[in-house]
């Protein structure tokens, strides 16, 4: 193995390479071009890898390098199931992000785009890692570039906001590290190809078969879950999120809300539920109640919000809450739903942030009460926003509908009243989303919005692509569902 380049490797090294090159280049145009091309190449790799999904192509999709053998770990990465969907999402998102913010000028652009690409590398690593230590490495590495991005290029209160974010997630992941060590010490021995034997093993597979009593699983569950819950974030671990989203530069907010939250969901799916099968049933209800409480809580705050960015942030908490609840409902329907929804949510929220960014750029304000009548000045933007907003509240014919429907069906199977309460969240989502459209886009123009112009070509292109994806997967969701089915199947198998 490892004699030729494989897909998961390309997904890691390409962004890494592009990122490192970016650091050394001063000219902003060249930097943008390199970052954009790099992200397009990654997208290409991700798309081509879709053609080689079946078992017959295993050698293209997995690689295992020797690394620290006497600890029982190796650099084992592979592309499968849920990882495939999320790497695809990551690969799709970055070109969109770069495209929609093409006009933005950053001081020290080389560092900005370099860090963005490093963040992409970190995210990819999390989604392909099949070894606990590798997983932990990338889990932390995705955080560091984002921390610097937020703190250097963010808004006024950026330093406090992002530092809170950093300490929160760092504490969470360190607790997870202790959990990893504990599970590791209860795994069986590992025999490597060259006959080196280690006492324990860090590989995901041996984590699944670790001998842990129910009592041990119970507290380990929380060590892992808190790390993931902070990342998602699930109520009550969400307090870092609205401030960070508000203060970060918009491209970074897109990465945070579209992709980094998926790290938490992915962690739960891949690294929590299968490792602690005995503990999960015990805590299913607690976690689901937390999630559903979070949905209602976040939706209520979103309705009261005047700050556009915070509104989207809280709406994101509500969506993530629903997804997390669907994971813990633990039936095939909800799992397929979550797989498709992870992809759709990423696309939709990025679209939403693009619109918010444009409004803020054009008017210089982010409070809805100061806006109004943008529709008269920017009709294209308005149409795009309305479509994305409909997708955000999961109307039929949009991509989110399929996933959300399946998730609700799954939660319903688990518990009727939970589905009912979570359903209120949908109504609330419709309230605040439509309210936002009304306040910002309709009504009379005022002196702030009077000078607004419609969007540029690059932005039209980015939004157009998103809208196209929304409709494609809304009308013809089959390919996505097939991917999701495969993911769920591999999950059940393990």
């Amino acid at each position: 193995m490892g004699t030729f380049i494989t897909f998961p490797e390309l997904l890691l090294w390409l962004p890494l390479l592009a990122g490192i090159i970016c650091f050394f280049i001063k000219d902003i145009k060249i930097v943008k071009a390199i970052a954009f091309t790099g992200s397009l190449l990654v997208l290409g790799v991700a798309l081509i890898s879709l053609l080689y999904t079946s078992k017959g192509y295993l050698t293209y999709n997995a690689v295992n390098y020797l690394w620290l053998q006497n600890l029982g770990t190796s650099f084992y990465i592979s592309l499968d199931g849920a990882g495939r969907i999320l790497t695809l999402l990551t690969a799709v998102s970055f070109p969109l992000i770069f495209l929609s913010t093409y006009k933005n000028n950053y001081k020290n652009a080389g560092a900005f785009f370099g860090l963005m690409m490093l963040a992409e590398c970190g995210l990819m690593g999390v989604f392909v890692a099949k070894d606990a230590l590798v997983f932990y490495f990338f889990w932390e590495l995705a955080l560091i570039p984002v921390y610097f991005l937020c703190s250097i290029w963010g808004g006024e209160k950026r330093i406090q906001a992002t530092f809170k974010f950093f300490v929160y997630t760092f504490l969470g992941s360190l607790l997870m590290l202790t959990g990893i060590i504990y599970v590791y010490l209860h795994t069986g021995p590992r025999v490597f190809e060259d006959a080196v034997v280690s006492l324990h093993s860090f590989s995901l597979q041996s984590f699944y078969t670790a001998t842990l009593s129910e009592g041990e699983q119970s507290w380990l569950f929380w060590l892992f879950f808190i790390a993931f819950a902070i990342k998602m974030p699930v109520f009550p671990f969400h307090t870092w999120q609205p401030d960070t989203y508000d203060q970060s530069p918009t491209p970074v907010t897109m990465v945070l809300s579209g992709l980094m939250v998926k790290m938490g969901l992915f962690g739960v799916i891949k690294w929590l539920i299968p490792i602690f099968p005995l503990a999960v049933p015990k805590f299913t209800n607690i976690v689901m109640i937390l999630c559903i409480a979070g949905i209602i809580y976040a939706s209520c705050i979103a309705m009261m919000q005047n700050n556009l960015k915070k509104l989207v942030a809280y709406s994101s908490i509500a969506h993530i809450g629903l997804m997390c609840a669907a994971i813990f409902a633990m039936n095939e329907m909800s799992l397929q739903g979550i797989m498709t929804q992870m992809f759709s949510h990423g696309i939709n929220i990025i679209g939403l942030w693009i619109v918010v960014e444009m409004i803020e750029q054009k008017t210089g304000v982010k409070h809805m009460s100061e806006l109004g009548g943008v529709a008269q000045k920017a009709p294209v933007l308005t149409i795009m926003l309305v479509i994305i907003a409909f997708a955000n509240i999961a109307l039929p014919l949009t991509n989110a509908f399929v996933g959300e429907f399946m998730m609700f069906a799954g939660i319903y199977q688990h518990s009727v009243w939970m589905a009912a309460v979570a359903g209120i969240g949908i109504i609330l989502a419709a309230v605040y989303t439509l309210n936002m459209i009304q306040k910002v886009f309709y009504g009379n123009t005022n002196e702030i919005t009077a000078t607004v112009t419609d969007i540029s070509f690059a932005q039209k292109l980015a939004l157009g692509l998103i809208v196209a994806m929304i409709f494609t997967f809304g009308i013809y969701p089959q390919p996505m569902i097939d991917l999701a089915k495969e993911a769920v199947a591999s999950l059940v198998a393990s």
């Binding site: 490495f137 932390e140 330093i159 300490v167 202790t178 060590i181 010490l185």
Partner: protein, 466 residues
């Protein structure tokens, strides 16, 4: 063996070099050459040792025990000292008139470190610790016209002498209580049963004395003042190399003499570990001066290294080696940058990322390593320590406590990073003349080393098993 002899000889040589060499800049080169020589000699010995045939062997009547573990440790110490000389050679010259003597004293410290790493009897432990400490008292006070330096020196000397007394008493108790009547650490080896009272008292005295040397709480009170008062170059040296040597001696004694009765003294070590982590981390949070912050952070890091004494297994030994390398390189690096600053407060670092991007980048790597972020040596060392502590069944909560404090440590290390990158530069942070090209290159090499060890810790640990 090589390192012990050569360091003593080179120390004497350096001391008398002042008679012949009048130039102020020459001793620096002599010192670098000396350390290189020591390093090569030690590497040869390590190599010879690993291939099995020991070419030259002085009969020490088994008072010294040379094995691949302590030779590797000495190699790490020598490499860090070399880095220290290359980065800070020019700054040593600025401390005072007697440049050659400062280097000579450092060579004597190295000799003490090597003794403390290879001792096989309590007497040589005592000798090693003393040879290590006495030159430090002088170095601390070497800035003769600075009142703070004098105060620090006196304080260090008084407290050090006191702890030496306690250590001697401990040795006497252990010797007296031991039916074999021997100073050899292997002969003290206790059976599984409960310890005789005399030995128990001696053991507690040894813990106190060694905790003092490695500045573990509650015996840490000298540390902030001494580290703050001493000339910054020497603070850099004594908070790293000397401290990890103290830990090495600590682990060696307890592994060989008291390993079997671990359960009887382990709780005391747990208490010291938690207290050290608590005091070091919490106090560091409130510091305004980076130098003082690093002093407290060194206490906090000592808390992590105490986990090796707590665990005493193979993983802990690997962890200690890694920790020695990771912690020393990173701290020496941060101090090297700090010395060049005009202002030692955290505000002094404001905007360094804009004015001196390479310096800021390297400092960031060092600080990330001290925090324990993956891909840096600091992560691997903390990870090995946590693994070692976790393998020691029954006290998993200690691992969780340790990581919570590691998260707190992010707070004060990141304050410096925030100042460098997210704040606007103030007045003239650094005198540009001070930043030579070779300084930058050395700093970059140190940062690359940190990352290399972070990716592949076998670079350090592997030598143990060759």
């Amino acid at each position: 063996m090589n390192a012990i002899l050569l360091s003593a000889i080179w120390g004497v040589l350096m001391m008398f070099s002042g008679v012949f060499i009048k130039s102020k800049t020459t001793p620096k080169y002599l010192a670098v050459a000396g350390i290189l020589l020591l390093f090569i000699a030690n590497a040869l010995e390590l190599n010879v040792f690993n291939t099995g045939s020991l070419h030259f062997n002085i009969d020490t009547k088994e008072m010294l025990n040379i094995n691949s573990f302590n030779l590797t440790f000495i190699a790490v110490v020598l490499a860090c000292t070399l880095l220290f000389f290359l980065l800070n050679g020019r700054d040593v010259e600025k401390v005072g008139e007697h440049v050659g003597e400062y280097f000579a004293l450092i060579f004597f410290v190295i000799c003490g470190v090597c003794l403390a790493a290879t001792y096989n009897t309590l007497l040589l432990l005592f000798l090693g610790i003393e040879i290590m400490s006495i030159p430090l008292y002088i170095l601390t006070g070497s800035d003769k016209r600075n009142l703070k330096s004098n105060e620090a020196s006196l304080k260090y000397f008084l407290m050090g002498a006191f702890s030496t007394g306690i250590m001697l008493m401990g040795i006497a108790f252990i010797y007296g209580g031991n039916p074999n009547g021997s100073f050899f650490i292997n002969n003290i080896q206790m059976g599984e049963g409960s310890m005789p009272v005399m030995i128990a008292v001696g053991l507690v005295f040894m813990i106190i004395a060694l905790s003092f040397k490695v500045s573990a709480a509650p015996f840490h009170f000298w540390t902030p003042d001494v580290y703050d008062g001493a000339p910054t170059v020497f603070t850099s040296f004594m908070s790293t190399i000397v401290k990890v040597a103290g830990f090495f001696a600590f682990v060696r004694l307890f592994e060989n003499s008291f390993g079997k009765v671990q359960s009887q003294w382990q709780n005391l070590i747990v208490f010291i570990t938690v207290l050290t982590l608590l005091i070091g981390n919490i106090t560091a949070v409130f510091q305004q001066s980076v130098k003082r912050m690093l002093a407290y952070s060194s206490i906090a890091q000592a808390g992590f290294m105490m986990l090796a004494v707590f665990a005493l297994n193979d993983r802990a030994k690997e962890g200690l080696l890694l920790y020695s390398a990771a912690y020393s390189i990173a701290t020496i690096g941060v101090f090297a940058v700090l010395i060049k600053m005009n202002d030692y407060t955290i505000e002094g670092f404001n905007g360094l990322g804009k004015t001196h991007s390479l310096l800021a980048l390297c400092t960031t790597v060092f600080l990330l390593s001290l925090t324990g972020i993956p891909l840096t040596a600091g992560f691997q060392s903390k990870f090995f320590m946590l693994m070692a502590a976790a393998e020691n069944t029954g006290k998993f909560w200690l691992v969780i406590v340790a990581v919570i404090f590691a998260a707190i440590s992010a707070y004060y290390y990141f304050k410096v990073i925030q100042a460098m990158y997210f704040k606007e530069p103030g007045v003239e942070v650094i005198d540009d003349k001070e930043i030579t090209g070779s300084f930058k290159i050395m700093l970059a090499i140190a940062a690359i080393l940190i990352i290399a060890i972070g990716i592949y810790p076998e670079l350090v640990v592997g030598w143990m098993y060759h």
